[in-house]
């Protein structure tokens, strides 16, 4: 799975947001702000990856337990899937 084309991660004034461009902008209005973990996961998802790989990269980057990493990745994937941001 990966982030759909037309969704750009941009830092504005220290805030990381997702901007819909091109055709995606016609169907999406508003703003999605990402925290540090969300930004990290988003960047991983800019190229094709799996949920297991996301958990592994989160464990490598942050000092968290596997249980927390699994829960965070699962919650993040659910959120962006619901928003229609994922190509699967």
């Amino acid at each position: 799975m990966k982030i759909k084309n037309g969704l750009k991660l941009r830092e504005v004034g220290g805030v990381n947001i997702v901007v819909a461009v091109g055709e995606m902008a016609a169907s999406f209005k508003g703003v999605v702000r990402l925290n540090a973990t969300g930004t990290f996961l988003w960047k991983q998802l800019e190229s094709d990856t799996s949920e297991c790989e996301l958990v592994a990269s989160l464990l490598e980057k942050y000092d968290v337990t596997e249980e927390i990493a699994n829960a965070d990745v699962s919650a993040f994937i659910s959120m962006i899937r619901e928003a229609g941001f994922l190509d699967e």
Binding site: K8, R10, V12, G13, V15, I17, V19, A20, V21, G22, A25, A26, K29, G30, V31, R33, A83
Partner: protein, 144 residues
């Protein structure tokens, strides 16, 4: 996901992005292909900044600051020539940080864009003069 008014979203997140509406900022902003990135206003805007403000009739407008006034601004769309005076400071919600044209991000602070803005604003001044003369000639003809 919540449905917030643009002011609420900007106050909450500090930033907002959307497609521009209308043609008043054409050719700088194109409703068909551009996405604007707006940032919450903090402090006074500068000449040639693009401001998002709410008019007394409730409409939200994205126009360029052409001059600073006491407690407000003179605004004009890049596709317009009539100046809008007396836009109050407290009605300005945000300013244009930059915009995406397709996949490419154009920052309003970039040298290239600043040069374009200066050129375009200068050409609007000459256009305003030309249109003003044409209107006077037309009115004089009609008066005879």
């Amino acid at each position: 996901m919540n449905n917030l008014k643009i002011e609420e979203a900007i106050n909450l997140f500090g930033v907002y992005s959307c497609r521009p509406q209308g043609t008043s900022m054409f050719p700088t902003l194109d409703t068909e292909r551009d996405t604007v990135v707006l940032r919450k206003k903090e402090g006074r805007l500068k000449k040639y900044d693009v401001a998002l403000y709410r008019r007394p009739d409730g409409t939200c407008v994205l126009h360029r600051v052409m001059a600073l006034e006491d407690g407000g601004y003179t605004m004009c769309g890049d596709n317009q020539w009539k100046l809008e005076h007396g836009v109050r400071e407290d009605t300005v919600i945000a300013y244009l940080e930059g915009f995406y044209r397709g996949d490419k991000y154009i920052s309003c602070d970039s040298r290239k864009h600043s040069a374009y803005v200066r050129f375009w604003c200068a050409s609007l001044f000459f256009r305003r003069c030309a249109l003003s003369i044409l209107w006077r000639v037309k009115n004089n003809k009609n008066a005879r």
